[in-house]
Amino acid sequence: MSRQRFVFATLAPAIAILAAIALASTAGAVWFSLMNRTLRSPAYKFVGIYNFERLFRDPRFYNALEISALWEMITVVGALAVATALAVLTVETVKSALWRNVISFAFLAPVLLPRVAAAFIWRFLYSPSLGLVNYLIGLTGAGPVEFLADPHLALYAVAAVDIWQWGLFFAVILMKLLETLPREPLEAAMLDHASRWEIHAYITLPMLRGPIVSLALVKAVESLRSFDLIFVMTGGGPGVSTETLDLYAYQVGVNLGGRISYASAMAILLLIVTNVIFAIVWRRVKTWTV
């Protein structure tokens, strides 16, 4: 058997299974999106593109779209900013390998926590009357702050938990990458009297542009799957201030009358929008990483 055939023969079953799973569920969603199926009744009929038309007239859908975009932006930028800052700070201030490993382990702990567990812990920590965060704020004479009950704060409060989990994890990755960079360019910069921070701003971080862009893409995909965190912490509230598209689709498809066809139309639109955006980003990645 030629090498090419061997590669094809070994990859084909896995790809076929993945394709079947992806295609079957997508085809099912498309089918439902063209019907008026609800969970209450087994009877349904073909309604064409009515569900999609209705979505474009649904202000709650536009709100969910806006919240989803905002959520992506805050969590991706936030996680990378925190990761970069912590990685540079640790590399610059902690020289002992043992202590760096201890810090790395501590930074890894939050992401090892199941999302639901993290959500419950932070829901309690944020509690205005019983939580630790407000207790600490109270010591300064301020507060209490209604982190999850204030529609202007809730999204940022939940995003902070996401950043706490992923930003610290990415910090470990960046820290290890910084340690593996070649010494020559750094030594040349030091000979030119560049400060430590200038070295990072103009040499090390640009050298890591490729991995950082990859991390941003990974985080962007991961942020699309934050249903569990938001659902447990706020359920999409207060009002609809933290209601992302997947949460709204869930509310419509399962909670609010079980309008599974309408929810499917929303899922299909979400699929199209994310695929288009990621395709554009993917094409630009090559430029950014050069």
């Binding site: 609800t38 009357s129 407000n134 009950a149 509230g237 207060p238 009002g239 009358g257 079980g258």
Partner: protein
């Protein structure tokens, strides 16, 4: 086969007893149902079952697996399981909000068809049986439920010289008088989080008590002036509540009261005994109990087990599931719970009269239950569309409570308009 079993089998064949399951011989089904799945939420009456499940498992040669979820998630998942025909759960947890939908969709068996007669369904409390009954047929075996109770801190009222409010006006005045945020003592607490069983549940007595009606003819009417007034009163009282009340669920409210931060609270009566739990409450012996101030009615509710017609199709599964429902809600199980210190979940008349129950809760609490009983009824809209209508209304109320929306009349109007669509889809 015992004489009793022979009689029951003969009576069932003759049509004297309604249950198919009652005629199913236990020995014939033992070991035939390797596992029995039940969906539930973590009420004490459910978590307490853990201790006694080996006894039931041994009887039937089965393994009962109980999936525990929060209220909204439990409702969503059991509906999904039944409506898609998945039938993963043979025993489902039903409540006052979804019973109409489950019955109209034929997702549950009538109780008498599945529960053995020895479990004495006539002993269930009448108010709970009413909640579990649709068109004269009882569909679930209740294990918890009741109405509302008005809780107040006797020590704080004594210290401030405030009398126990008997009317809503008196309550509003008293709340303002005792509210002391600087010392983390708040006059009131309430549910703010969205959901037909959350903020809507607590708002409804205000709406109905002030004279509101869900429907005006065949049109929804909960954007009426009365509804606006009820919402204003509810929101005004929330101003004297712990911070974050706009998204409080029942647990947040009850825990704030148990932590000693709240002076007045109207909640479901099952939470009364929670205040007397020495391990978890800081207000043991300091709480007074009374009926809700007039004109507030008491919101009747009931949670219980039913056998899923989607998940339990063959005779043996029906028999084991039916026996589980009977066993889990039996008189003996309630006595077990009382012996274990759980006095909150009582669904049987015989237990209310028992010495063990009288020893477990304050006499004042029992008196409050008796006084509130006549004012207890199902206050929510009795419609299969209620879960959708209630959840939409809950979202609107949460938006108002948290300040996302300011125009009460307009916000309620949007909810009412959406309800019209939901009712129309039923047709």
């Amino acid at each position: 086969m015992t004489l009793k079993a022979i009689f029951l089998a003969a009576a069932s064949l003759a049509g004297l007893t309604p249950g198919a399951a009652q005629a199913t011989d236990a020995a014939a089904c033992k070991g035939k149902v390797p596992s029995l799945n039940a969906i539930a939420q973590g009420m004490p009456s459910v978590t307490e079952l853990d201790k006694y499940l080996p006894e039931f498992n041994k009887k039937w040669g089965t393994e009962v697996k109980i999936t525990m979820l929060g209220e909204n998630e439990r409702r969503a998942k059991s509906r999904l399981d039944a409506s898609t025909g998945a039938g993963s759960y043979q025993v489902i947890y039903v409540d006052e909000a979804n019973i109409a939908e489950y019955v109209s969709s034929k997702w549950v068996y009538p109780l008498a068809d599945v529960i053995p007669a020895e479990y004495d369904t006539a002993d269930f409390r009448d108010d709970l049986r009413n909640v579990a009954t649709v068109n004269g047929v009882q569909y679930f075996a209740p294990f918890v439920g009741g109405g509302d109770v008005f809780l107040y801190r006797k020590d704080i009222l004594d210290a401030k010289g405030v009398a126990v409010p008997k009317t809503l006006d008196e309550l509003q005045a008293a709340i303002k008088k005792v509210n002391d945020p600087a010392n983390k003592v708040y006059g009131w607490s309430a549910r703010g989080q969205r959901g037909s069983g959350m903020n809507v549940w607590r708002w409804t007595p205000f709406f109905r008590g002030l004279g509101g009606k869900w429907m005006d003819g065949d049109k929804p009417a909960f954007d009426s002036d009365t509804a606006v007034k009820a919402t204003q009163v509810y929101m005004d009282m929330m101003k004297s509540s712990p911070p974050g009340v706009g998204t409080f669920n029942w647990s947040d409210s009850v825990e704030a009261f148990r932590a000693g931060q709240v002076v007045f609270l109207i909640e479901s009566d099952v939470f009364g005994p929670w205040m007397e739990d020495k391990a978890k409450s800081t207000v043991v012996g300091k709480v007074g109990y009374a009926p809700p101030p007039s004109p507030l009615p008491s919101a009747g509710w009931g949670h219980g087990w039913a056998v899923s017609s989607v998940g339990a199709k063959d005779d043996c599964t029906k028999a084991v599931a039916g026996d589980f429902v009977g066993w889990a809600t039996s008189k003996e199980m309630e006595q077990h719970r009382l012996a274990d210190g759980v006095a909150s979940d009582i669904a049987r008349k015989s237990t209310l009269k028992s010495a063990a129950y009288k020893a477990a809760v304050p006499a004042e609490y029992i008196q409050a239950l008796l006084d509130t009983g006549p004012r207890t009824s199902l206050l929510i809209m009795s419609s299969p569309a209620w879960p959708e209508i209630g959840d939409n209304l809950g979202l609107t109320l949460e938006e108002l409570f948290t300040g996302t929306k300011k125009d009460i009349k307009g916000a309620l109007g949007e909810s009412t308009f959406a309800a019209e669509d939901a009712l129309q889809r039923l047709k």
